[in-house]
């Protein structure tokens, strides 16, 4: 899947650049964007280390369990396959909490840790129902305070940069809802097929 997206993007850009005469810009962008990526990585690694350092303090002090407890009723409904006491579940609820507070740099390492734990429970290289729902949750924004946007608006002369906050809440809640429903419906549809396959196998064995 990712290979197709990657190849598709590169080939599309070549075709479009050839037709629109942007080929010079394209060839220089190849080098520029790879070095830009490294600059971005170096820039974000400081913040990432800072947040994972503080999150480690919070974890060692037992804050994880407290936050987990706060969100567990909601997350338990959302992820019925994950054991509430497992490490994966606590990483997932910490990731949720960090996202809510808008700590994107903290949420990502926590989310990656959760994925690593979820991976240990699956055998093949196919995403489990839990993984799908969890990743979809992370692609939707559940940030309470859109600080980055507000800072940007302020710098362009907005009189009240936070006046959009209610619209942001309604919009992001609806987007999250649609994403989760789609994930759940997809889980149901594709899950059924797998059960049927299993049944067929069992049938064959009993024959």
């Amino acid at each position: 899947m990712l290979s197709y997206i990657f190849a598709g993007m590169i080939i599309c850009s070549l075709i479009f650049a050839a037709f629109s005469g942007n080929i010079t810009a394209l060839s220089s962008s190849v080098l520029d964007s790879s070095s830009e990526a490294v600059t971005l990585l170096i820039k974000m690694s400081g913040a990432l280390c800072m947040w994972s350092g503080f999150m480690r303090i919070a974890k060692d002090a037992g804050l994880t369990e407290k936050l987990s407890k706060l969100f567990s009723p909601f997350l338990k409904k959302l992820f019925p396959d994950v054991d509430e006491k497992s490490e994966a579940f606590s990483y997932m609820s910490m990731n949720f909490a960090a996202n809510l507070l808008g700590l994107g740099n903290a949420a990502t390492p926590l989310g990656l840790c959760a994925m690593k734990k979820l991976r240990e429970q699956s055998e093949d290289d196919e995403a489990t129902d839990t993984m799908v729902t969890f990743v979809v949750m992370n692609t939707a924004s559940i940030q309470l305070l859109p600080t980055t946007v507000a800072v940007l608006r302020r710098s362009y002369g907005s009189s009240s940069p936070f006046d959009i906050i209610f619209c942001v809440w309604v919009t992001s809640a609806l987007a999250l809802f649609v994403g989760l429903i789609a994930a759940k419906v997809g889980n149901r549809l594709t899950g059924k097929r797998r059960i049927l396959q299993n049944r067929r196998q069992v049938y064959r064995w009993t024959m």
């Binding site: 899947m1 990712l2 997206i5 599309c12 075709i15 650049a17 942007n22 810009a25 962008s29 520029d32 964007s33 830009e36 990526a37 490294v38 971005l40 990585l41 690694s45 990432l48 280390c49 800072m50 994972s52 350092g53 503080f54 480690r56 303090i57 919070a58 974890k59 060692d60 002090a61 990656l112 994925m115 979820l118 093949d124 290289d125 196919e126 995403a127 799908v132 969890f134 990743v135 979809v136 992370n138 692609t139 859109p146 600080t147 507000a150 940007l152 608006r153 362009y156 002369g157 006046d163 959009i164 619209c167 942001v168 919009t171 992001s172 609806l174 987007a175 994403g179 789609a182 994930a183």
Partner: protein, 168 residues
């Protein structure tokens, strides 16, 4: 607003001290994990940002917006938001660049700027998150993840105009 992050950090440090945790040692351990994460995600990031940079430079995006414009005008969706709506799931920094462009051209308190701000505040960089999360653990078959995530993005792109029109 400037208080949020320093207050959180102080609260965590204080809480750690109260619970008798060796907080600096914990911090160093965590930071080491952080640098490992950077090391793991670096190749994925370079690959994705390379592809995004190429798409942006090639004019494919402009082509797409100019051809979709008549259709969206019929739906009374502001065409000025289209480039950002298309770029948002792919590139966070690219979408931010287009957002500031809208602020510059129409004023930060205009209807368009408010819609664009709501869109930026209620979506994430979908492709980045999907690649990062699955790439880090070697999952190749992602099933309906991308479809569900893009449906959520589509909802946000429609709802940002609806909410700003109705609620502001």
């Amino acid at each position: 607003m400037d208080y949020v992050i320093p207050v959180i950090l102080s609260a965590v440090a204080l809480y750690g001290l109260i619970r008798k945790v060796n907080i600096f040692e914990s911090f160093v351990k965590g930071a080491r994990e952080g640098i490992k994460t950077v090391y793991v995600i670096a190749p994925t990031m370079i690959g994705l940002l390379l592809a995004v940079g190429m798409v942006r430079c090639s004019g494919a995006l402009d082509f797409l917006t100019s051809h979709l414009a008549p259709f969206f005008e019929r739906l009374s969706y502001p065409t000025e938001l289209l480039p950002m709506a298309i770029l948002r799931p792919v590139s966070g920094s690219g979408a931010t660049a287009l957002l500031t462009d809208i602020y510059k051209n129409f004023g930060a308190d205009s209807f368009l700027s408010k819609c664009a701000s709501v869109m930026a505040g209620s979506t994430e960089t979908t492709f980045y998150a999907v690649t990062m999360y699955y790439g880090s653990i070697g999952i190749r078959k992602i099933r309906h993840t991308l479809l569900s995530a893009l449906l959520a993005d589509l909802t946000a792109m429609v709802m940002c105009v609806v909410t700003v029109s109705l609620l502001m």
